[in-house]
Symmetry: C2
Subunit: 377 residues, 2 copies
């Protein structure tokens, strides 16, 4: 049986994906220069072009062990596939920022991704929100996660997480229950179920959504792989929301990745008496995360230019307003309606001034009267 | 019996304090020019100097009714006193900002304050935190209020509030229970107990702390007086903390005053599922209030230059650090300890670089090793 060019390339990718612990900037760079087949051949032959010496070091331990064919067979058996940068569903856009210099430590883009499920990787990676948090979630955290995940899924946002116990699992489950897309990024091989207690959940995600891993089949979960995996969770999400995190939660690492990659970071507040909200509160008070409370605020975080229903400045431009009118405008909260007296109070203007300003602004479409109270239009 | 100069002045102040609904900028301005006795005489005679015509309008309804002596008698009977700007305990510093132009709408300084209790007004008005919030507080809100008020009182901070049901009452009670100073600012006469159900609490505050009102004896509470009173709560506090507030809580008005007067504003987060935390969450996410969780963060809010135990930059100066060392410094959170790997990750530096930076910084006293993890010193 002859092997097609595609098969050769795929086997080369599979070889490259295993020959060094991912991500490996040296292999990526070699690949960019030679293409996957020649890059694989060069590593096997221990002979790389000048300037790529780092590849030999990174691949010294595994260069002679070629499990590419076996990996692809395992993948086929479990219904998984290897998605490479040559594939149309490669999430190039989502991963782009990982290629930038300041993420070099443990932070390059993946060379390829093993995926399992009917979801299309590039689409799920650019229309999703990561809901993450403590494994030891509280009942409150689980409740909020479930509400957010359902809400997002019903709006057809992919709910992305790490399939762990606690917040992760609740997020995936609620998205599945709502019939929406969900994506689990694993820190182990695509054929492994980690944690074991979530085998059934991971199988369900693989049936209805997408299970993703940059680790070749058979790879066991390890601490450093969680940290590496976390960058993919952040990169392949439009926003990252920490629902619950203790003082030293692993979620802080994904949150740090979100900030590093320029992904909007949200955190859900909770009782100040709850240990599992301490991390969220700290992120908010340190101005690292935006406080989010519901599906709507999460979507506004993920699409700041979209819904536009959060924050000031929505609605009409204020360029054509007089000074008094601008003060009135600024005195009306972004959400909700207020009375003329409240506006006068906040704006420091006389009620009569406010009343005439509102009249003009009403005609101009800047404000709306709702049962005697006023809100921004 | 002859009347002393002081008595004459006091009666003039008492007259002026009642002759118009406070605050009254026109009377204040007349007083500044003529002094209280002559100002009172001018109003009685309906003859004021040029440029003070506004006084006649503001005092038209009450000029002929002189209850000054009676007011002072009532005050004496209930152990209250009238504190004027001639008195050493006048809180000039705290009230100064109320005299500024942009607070003119319902916002001038009080002409005088009726007070009852052993506390010294100027001291309590400059070493306190206002704890405010919903009348319909939740069990959670009451618990947090109690914890904060006790903590503040034990550190000898005055706990200031409005003696209302809910958060206000819990704040005063917890401060009293901790044996600390507490100040209640009323929206009715100093001889009135509003709300009636808090008569006993207000009496206790008057015995151990201070009850304050700008309204003459007998004045009943009214909606506009709550709004006017709120500016005093904000002005006479070093920081204002909203513990719980619903979507349209009255606490928002005091919070608006805090911002207007430049008082640091804090808000306590709570469950996103709780209606009484909605207002707090909104203030935080709209960047109007700082998220606070405990006594320490409230004190740091009130004395940003004091304790200095919140936020970065505490401890040693970083001027003498190298670039790598500064990156390491910045990668260590303000609170808590982190591992070398976490620092390397956050700083985007190699572990070896971090290790040698930490060694130098340890010697320099910038960092401390705690059981293998590192924190800022």
């Amino acid at each position: 049986m002859t092997e097609s060019v595609d098969d050769t390339a795929l086997r080369a990718w599979a070889y490259l994906a295993r020959v060094a612990e991912p991500p490996c900037a040296a292999i990526e760079s070699l690949c960019d220069e030679l293409g996957p087949a020649e890059a694989a051949a060069a590593i096997r032959a221990r002979s790389v072009p000048p300037g790529h010496a780092g590849v030999l070091e990174a691949t010294a331990a595994r260069a002679d062990s070629d499990r590419a064919a076996a990996d692809l067979e395992v993948a086929e058996r479990i219904g998984a596939r290897l998605v490479t940068r040559d594939d149309p569903e490669w999430p190039a856009w989502a991963l782009m920022t990982l290629g930038q210099a300041d993420t070099a430590v443990r932070g390059g883009p993946p060379l390829a991704l093993w995926v399992r499920g009917p979801g299309r990787l590039d689409e799920m990676a650019t229309n999703g929100v990561a809901l993450i948090g403590s494994r030891a979630a509280s009942g409150y955290g689980e409740q909020v996660t479930s509400t957010l995940a359902s809400g997002l899924a019903l709006e057809n946002w992919t709910v992305t997480s790490g399939a762990a116990y606690g917040i992760d699992g609740v997020a995936h489950r609620a998205a599945l229950a709502a019939g929406g897309p969900t994506m689990a990024v694993l820190a182990c091989g695509i054929d492994r179920d980690y944690p074991a207690g979530h085998a059934r959940l991971i199988a369900e995600i693989g049936e209805h959504g997408l299970v993703v891993s940059e680790y070749p089949p058979g790879t066991t979960a390890a601490k450093h792989r969680f940290l590496t995996r976390n960058r993919l969770v952040a990169a392949m999400s439009d926003a990252v929301v920490v629902v619950e995190a203790g003082r030293r939660s692993g979620a802080a690492n994904t949150a740090a990745w979100a900030r590093k990659l320029g992904r909007p970071l949200g955190a859900v507040p909770g009782p100040v008496t709850s240990a599992t909200s301490v991390g969220c509160h700290r992120m908010i008070s340190d101005d690292l995360a935006v406080l989010v409370t519901d599906t709507r605020s999460v979507i506004a975080l993920a699409r700041p230019d979209g819904a536009g229903d959060i924050g000031r400045g929505r609605g009409r431009e204020t360029d054509d307003l007089s000074d008094d009118q601008i003060r009135v405008h600024d005195a009306i909260p972004a959400r909700g309606a207020v009375t003329i007296e409240e506006i006068a109070f906040s704006a420091g203007l006389d009620v009569s001034v406010v009343r005439s300003a509102l009249a003009v602004m009403d005609v101009g479409g800047h404000v709306v009267n709702v049962n005697g109270a006023w809100r921004l239009s």
